[in-house]
């Protein structure tokens, strides 16, 4: 009898283990927010975009960007968050809900950036173009132009951005600056961690880490008085955006 008892206990134990090893849905925590990963929406070079759900059932898109030291910097990965903060709120520009920078446990020089974004179930213009091609349908011209006008307005906000001006004012500017500082700290930390391990490789690494001054978003505003225009170009407008 005691044997059966221990056999059952074993069984439960191994079942319990199984549940831990293979949870029904993978979970993730971003700044204390629990997210269930539902599926992969898309991927690019160093990044993946997942459809995720929080505990209340709300859906989001979660962008995960791997930043192996020396290849992709946290500053580059967080650049889009910096830009979203700068132009927010704008009805035609996406805003980021939250973001975090995590260190790889096995390799502290490697960082992973998570960016939580709203999820749009209708997809993008490219998805609509594809649907039109498949169904042999077309955009009604007026509807298309109304969409197009919205994209033009988003671009206007970038091309004619005024330092600390409308619509988010100084607070958006401050937020963007904080993102930049956070990214710089993470890159600094990544560098120290990587240097700690690699020691003498330092000289060669330094060359790779030269920042692209051209890339800076908030830094480009230095010397531009509040209210003055500091233009930005998007440089990658396409239906898939």
């Amino acid at each position: 009898m005691a044997q059966i008892g221990s056999y059952l206990a074993d069984l439960f134990y191994s079942l319990g283990n199984c549940m831990v090893c293979f949870p029904s849905t993978p979970q993730l925590k971003i700044n204390g927010r629990s997210l269930k990963i539902l599926r992969l929406l898309g991927e690019g070079g160093f990044s993946y975009v997942y459809l995720v759900q929080d505990s209340s059932g709300a859906l989001y898109a979660l962008k995960k960007i791997r930043c192996p030291f020396g290849q992709e910097s946290v500053s580059q990965a967080l650049k889009e968050v910096e830009a979203y903060s700068l132009f927010s709120p704008h009805p035609n520009i996406i805003h980021s809900i939250d973001h975090s920078v995590a260190s790889d446990r096995s390799d502290p020089g490697s960082k992973t950036v998570y960016i939580l974004l709203p999820y749009y179930r209708r997809g993008n213009l490219q998805d609509m173009i594809n649907a039109n091609l498949v169904n042999h349908t077309q955009f009604p011209e007026k509807r298309l132009l109304i969409l197009f006008l919205g994209v033009c307005r988003a671009l206007k906000a970038m091309h004619q951005y005024k330092v600390k001006g409308a619509p988010g004012g100084a607070s958006s500017h401050k937020k963007a600056k904080r993102v930049r500082e956070e990214a710089a700290r993470a890159d600094q930390d990544a560098e120290e961690q990587a240097m700690g391990r690699r020691g003498r490789d330092r000289d060669t690494e330094d060359e790779e880490q030269e920042p692209l001054v051209d890339d800076e978003i908030t830094r480009a505003q230095e010397g531009v008085a509040p209210g003055e225009t500091r233009s930005y170009a998007h440089r990658d407008i396409k239906p898939g955006e």
Binding site: R122, F139, L145, L147, L149, V151, R153, Q160, I237, P239
Partner: protein, 169 residues
């Protein structure tokens, strides 16, 4: 992205954003700008001035207006004007862009004469004012393209003249 109401577009992926205009003061900077464009700007939508960046020039926000023209065309026809042209001619994509070689499907030699193609239904015809928006955005010289304010006015004017086609649904 399209907002859930179906009418509001949401621009995303600002990873390619750069301060603009970018003065290109040296040969090495020209190469840097060109590399950056090659990495971040999608080729069928990339403006010609980003393919061969010359020192002593300035890269401005006009590159976005070009991409807007390509985007509008793609929404009307199904793909970027230069992707379409390069598939038709078998020429390289970059040569089509640099030569500003493109056309609407119902214009020029190819369009109508393709054998076996059913005649176009009236709703498939792209109206002249919409074509004009695309043409202006795709002018080869950046300074000839409308700026974003001029473009907004033009598009608003076109919308105002259009009959209701269910956009308010």
């Amino acid at each position: 992205m399209i907002d859930d109401d179906g009418k509001t577009p949401i621009l995303m992926d600002l990873g390619s954003l750069v301060p603009s205009p970018t003065p290109v003061t040296s040969r090495s900077m020209a190469l840097q700008v060109q590399d950056q464009a090659a990495e971040h700007s999608t080729m069928p939508y990339r403006a010609p001035e980003l393919f061969d960046v010359k020192s002593g020039t300035t890269i401005g926000p006009e590159v976005d207006v070009w991409s807007l023209g390509c985007t509008l065309f793609a929404c009307l026809v199904g793909k970027s004007p230069f992707e379409m042209r390069s598939e038709e001619t078998g020429g390289s994509l970059s040569l089509c862009v640099l030569g500003v070689d493109w056309r609407f499907p119902d214009e020029g030699r190819e369009g109508k004469t393709k054998p076996g193609q059913p005649p176009r239904k009236p709703e498939e015809i792209i109206s002249e004012p919409v074509k004009e928006v695309v043409r202006r955005c795709l002018r080869p010289e950046p300074q000839d393209r409308p700026d974003v304010d001029e473009l907004i006015v033009q598009v608003e004017d076109v919308i105002a003249t259009m009959p209701d086609d269910g956009a308010e649904e």
